[in-house]
Symmetry: C3
Subunit: 270 residues, 3 copies
């Protein structure tokens, strides 16, 4: 563990209620040395897929041994299991409802393990069934950050829940993908990545592409403001996460052009 | 005081303006060791009752000696007094407008004291009258967190302001209560608590109850997803704060069923 | 540098996406000792003027050597330069698009310097052009907070970009100003400051003023609740930043009276 262990929080709790503050109070009551960082608390309510995308794109920007707590948990209090996922660099704590699916796919190694959290002496005493973020996941993360051995938290399992992943596909010279998220600026992020484009061509940067969306061809530019060279219409860019993104310079592409999650996008080599 | 003293913030400042950031800047300028935790900054504007409920349900999840700063302060700059409330485990700092009413009720002990903050050398020099969160409450909390004796901040008072509390009442075998808050998920929290139910029956968990809301009977379930066994309509649960809560699984009960703060709820022993 | 160096963040990133969390992850990966404080992430999107006002009114409430990172950056990835601005007490890091204009005006001294950040070994390796907050500004701030000499980050420049400032003007005994921002309470802050009023009269506090807005005369009161003595209509107050502010006690003046940024306000000596 780090001298100042880092615990991140990703939830659908919002910022109106005191829920996030209480999670932090519980963590600091157990480990005053923990550094707690909010990734976001504005996941769409009960949206497990969205949370899975966010944690997958975010986790690598934190130092090794960071503990990522993710709570989007419509099944709270029922039979779904609380989990601790261990990868080479990170720990993940949250409910067994599929929100770690991309973690299971991307972080396989000899270190990979999924534990069912059963050691309830590491939880708060529970008076109700609606807030395991505070009563189960927060204290488990805090005790883990103090260096408690992972095997003390429960039993290893292999039948953890997964959700279907939405991957781009390749047919000949064409990649077919979808919009998977829309950010607060109205930019539409797709699942077409530089990794997939690399399967089309050995030299991504020197190749030229045709991007098609809703029947129209979009210019693929190098940076947002660059779209002015093409008349500033709907454009595409490879964003800083390595994903193809559809945007409209300084405006909200999603609301202006009715771009929605799930929309098809096509990229072809020219 | 803790090695890393904790100061929490509960306000109606919102997160658009820099107000919260400035409060933190002032605290850290005085005590760089302070750990500052946001409980919420989205209290409804000027809503003293709401703030009083939030701090009362939140304060116990922080370690002893935590300093809770609460600023919902429509009277800022006028005659209302700035206060420091001392209880066995916590400190509370904020304006004397009733927002600490539940603290006065729940934390009586030989440690209980209310001080009128008058030692203005612990405040920032003031150029205006509109931001005592930054100029009075933040520096007082920061100096307190450095271990300044509480008696140096002002004089003890006993005529502090209170607001009416909204308590559930018992008549025979029936508890009458009200919705006192609605969370961001649309769940409606009532003032009917396990503490009150314990006055109806010696064994809360084994007893059976009838919950009535707007003329209809609601199933009382063990956890949110459990309401599917009853057709997933409007349901009730004892939440993790020990309060009866009305909810609709995975949907917004408050907007779907027009649930409002103040609505009557009845619980009867069967 | 401080033992616990402070880095503040002011952006238009919002709190829905993980952008702010990633900026913090990058900073802590480089300097685990950094204390990161959010000023706000809700600057109106792409609004450079608003960001410039916010950082100018906020920066002084943090301890000397604080590093203020400001990212409102529609030109990200293009030709605009990343900057490090050095003043007697603070560092400022962000894009060269004018958002530091008030800093250039107010913090001139023998310490004042503007550096073009060119030492890319202090940046993250870049896979895209859309997120320099994470890839350029965050790591530069983190390395600076570790004590790296400012001259190692790039070259000094003098042709930095500025935006027009909107200053109040004096004609005879009358100050003409404008609404420059509206806070979350609906209070309208003007650019008429105590500094400007001091040019009208040697004794600001004892002088009497007439405030005119939209043809009507507004009472100038000492604190918000004081406006009840004048019938609680639209009123003016000198706020805690030393600016004349138009408000309506406990209500949203901006929406109730259609107050907008840019509106004219006049103050005259009586």
């Amino acid at each position: 563990m780090l001298a100042k262990p880092i615990i991140t929080l990703t939830t659908d709790f919002g910022l109106k209620d005191p829920f996030v503050g209480l999670v932090k109070g519980v963590i600091l009551s157990i480990n005053p040395e923990a550094e707690i960082i909010d990734i976001t608390h504005n996941i769409s309510q009960h949206n497990i897929f969205e949370a899975s995308q966010i944690i997958s794109m975010s986790c690598r920007y934190f130092p090794p041994t960071t503990i990522h707590v993710v709570v989007v948990d419509p099944g709270v209090g029922g039979g779904r299991r609380p989990l601790l996922v261990i990868t080479e660099d990170y720990y993940f704590i949250g409910p067994d409802n599929g929100l770690f699916t991309p973690i299971y796919e991307e972080f396989q190694s000899s270190f990979f393990k999924v534990m069912h959290l059963t050691a309830s002496h590491y939880f708060l005493p529970m008076n109700g069934s609606t807030f395991h973020g505070r009563d189960v996941f927060a204290p488990a993360a805090a005790w883990l950050s103090k260096g408690i051995d992972v095997f003390k938290f429960g039993e290893q399992i292999t039948d953890y829940v997964t959700i279907p992943s939405i991957k781009a596909t390749i047919k000949g010279d064409i990649v077919n993908g979808n919009v998977i998220s829309i950010d607060i600026f109205g930019n539409a992020v797709t699942n077409i990545t530089t990794k997939i484009l690399a399967k089309l061509t050995p030299d991504i940067e020197k190749s030229r592409y045709r991007v098609k969306y809703k029947g129209a061809e979009l210019p693929l530019v190098n940076y947002y403001a660059d779209s002015s060279a093409f008349g500033n219409g709907l454009s595409a860019v490879i964003n800083s996460f390595g994903h193809l993104e559809i945007f409209f310079y300084k405006e909200n592409a999603a609301s202006k052009y009715n771009v929605n999650i799930g929309d098809s996008v096509e990229v072809a080599l020219i």
